[in-house]
Homo-oligomer: 418 residues x 2
């Protein structure tokens, strides 16, 4: 058992000074200090630091680390067609493994305890997660040319492989798939009573072209096909109509916000005020490292609030507490990780220690606003997943030397990029 004490705790009801005990992979006690302490294997004196549930990166493409800083500052179509697609075609199971490991190191260093990933080579991706003890949920990435019926086998296989791994139904996007794929996935959603996810309304042209093709927006199209009958949601969700947001609210779907990527690709900004007014569930993701380029949820939370203020022309717009909740608990619920969403007894011990002794956290006028408006990855002192410390004070405990991970990733990157 591990004991965290003498610090602050971010709980659903607010910031407290409770202790947190971890037994195996789960939280066993949250409350005031007690006399009847069991024999702990480790007692961690927080020294005033904050213990919070880990960030959930609710939309990412982990394997894209090889394209970080390799394809920036280009128009979107040129970026995709000349820089991304031809290079992704050169990926192998071995290079994908190397690139995913770099991303997992970055998640851990940045206090991210789970990711919702959409990319290639699921066997290799799952293997890294299991080998390292990282929590990862995959979203099916079907595009044109893929056999959509593969979702049945994958759903059974990857949802049974490890408690750390999950698989959700989905497809890349409307514009990369035909109607038959949507119908197959909708059938699978009904078969498994499972939610469905995809990129949705990321750009103006995506929505315009969908309306031209199908006579309705992506959200209306998906809803009309029964894809959302068991929930799910969309990534980006920039160009949502009022009706789209109503569908999301009525169906209990989640909009995953990717402010940094939407900014870097000049896609646009999310309709935060309208979505909140309508009661749409929110989560936060980084998108892949080729379009961000960091896997940093502090920066995402900051930018979501900044963009809301600029979009509304109102410094009072945005909501740091709501966005922090989306980045932590909203993501967990979106990914089907309802037992990873909070610090409470019985929940999985996916925890982050936030250094409150760095100057950017001082004075402590408001812990939540400090996290959202001045926090950064340098504040992450410890990252624990399922009760295991995988990162602490700059060191990784994943069973592999990070320098070897970097070297291997550099070699494969040079092979692909030249």
């Amino acid at each position: 058992m591990i004991r965290f004490y003498n610090g602050l705790t971010l709980e659903p009801g607010g910031v407290t000074e409770n202790e947190v005990w971890v037994d195996g992979s789960a939280i066993s006690y949250v409350g005031p200090a007690r006399e009847d302490v069991p024999a702990f294997t480790r007692q961690i004196d927080l020294g005033g630091d904050l213990l919070m549930p880990g960030f959930k990166d609710a939309h990412t493409h982990s394997g894209m680390t090889f394209l970080r800083s390799a394809a920036d500052d280009l128009p979107l179509q040129e970026w995709l067609e000349k820089q991304v697609f031809p290079r992704e075609a050169k990926l192998t199971p071995e290079s994908l493994t190397a690139f995913v490991k770099v991303a997992f190191l970055e998640y851990l260093a940045n206090g991210i305890t789970a990711c919702f990933d959409m990319y290639f080579f699921p066997d290799q991706f799952v293997q890294v997660a299991m080998d390292w003890g990282f929590r990862a949920v995959m979203c099916e990435s079907l595009t044109a040319g893929d056999d959509p019926s593969r979702v049945y086998e994958r759903y059974e296989k990857y949802n049974a492989v490890s408690p750390l791994v999950g698989y959700r139904l989905g497809f890349h996007a409307e514009y990369t798939n035909g109607i038959e794929t949507f119908k197959t996935v909708a059938e699978a959603a009904h078969h498994f009573k499972a939610p469905v996810w995809c990129h949705n309304s990321e750009t103006v042209s995506e929505v315009r072209d969908c309306v031209a093709r199908h006579g309705m927006t992506p959200t209306k199209l998906f809803d009309s096909l029964g894809l959302y009958d068991y929930g799910g949601g969309g990534y980006h969700c920039i160009y949502m109509t009022d009706e789209d947001l109503d569908i999301f609210a009525r169906r209990g779907l989640t909009a995953v916000l990717n402010a940094c990527s939407n900014g870097k690709l000049a896609s646009g900004t999310f309709r935060l005020r309208e979505a909140v007014e309508k009661g749409v569930n929110l989560a936060v993701g980084t998108d892949g490292p080729a379009s961000n380029n960091a896997l940093d949820m502090f920066r995402e939370m900051y930018l979501i609030n900044i963009m809301a203020k600029l979009r509304e022309g109102n410094a009072a717009a945005g909501d740091p507490a709501l966005i922090l909740n989306a980045a932590v608990s909203g993501g967990a619920r979106a990914m089907g990780l309802a037992d990873c969403d909070a610090i409470a007894p019985g929940k999985q011990a996916d925890l982050v220690r936030v250094d409150m002794h760095r100057p950017n956290m001082r004075p402590v006028n408001n812990v939540v606003k400090n996290l959202v408006y001045s926090g950064d990855p340098s504040n992450v002192r410890l990252t624990m997943i399922a009760g295991r410390v995988l990162y602490e004070d700059g060191q990784f405990y994943v069973g592999e030397d990070p320098e070897k991970v970097y070297r291997t990733a550099e070699e494969y990157t040079r092979q692909i990029l030249g």
Copy 2:
């Protein structure tokens, strides 16, 4: 003498693998490894890390740390009039000293080696800079009620007090001063042949009201009064007309960009494309911690580029190399620190070691883009000012215990905020 070796060096010509030697406060050698090495007091093996000139925070209000996370998410006027001004009225020399120290710790932890500060109690501010070895340039903060003739005495006094300290002519803004103040400062500018600085065109209403009062924009007004005859520039510069930008370009003035503050206060976004096309000098600042809320130049550089892309609706907009240069060298030149702008022999040793072994810097496809698009304060391993290491691996070497600094600042914060 101190030797940095076995790493990368960000020089004016690009990234090299040169060594850097520091003798006293200055750089004595930049070049390949040599046989004739002198007796170094310390040899720092960079292990592949990057040595770069420190960031220059070219617009800030250091003493405002006490308002961090205390007054967010409010409309601009309510924020200023209800949250900021009444609380600033309670500042004392002692509390100002405590709050400045928190900011200086944050600068050091974030790789900032000099700040261009506008705030109260210059004697106390200068004392902290001298005691700690931090490089600080003050900008005169005249507002209504101040005697503008004080600039003569201050100019002589603070420009002579220490090689680490400077003082530049200026005033708060057009809307907080009358024409007599501008005339007095213009006379002083001619007397000292010195540049003049102030907040300029931060909001729509500021420009509109100035035009109503004086029949011209702030920039035209200042220029017409001779305030810019010896250079200088403006902070924010959001609502600049083409003619304003032309004046800046023709006079060699510098626009200091404050993207995070302008976003958080919903002020707007800088006309980066137009300013670059016209050849306006650029620098980067954080603004104060009450309106940002971090003192983090990585986030500023990121946001400037993101805002340019969104503003233009073009993912190819922005220019990471240009903005990095503005954040390092542009700021130095703006602040009158021409000997702190680059890694070159004879320049001041204001240096930062950037950790290239954190996953957010891998792979190394492009060092500059890594810094701007995925770098964050966790990458700062060492900060040196005038040849002295003031921060290294999480520890501060300023002659004071940071915990004591935090405690004192918390106490004064509680006294003011309750």
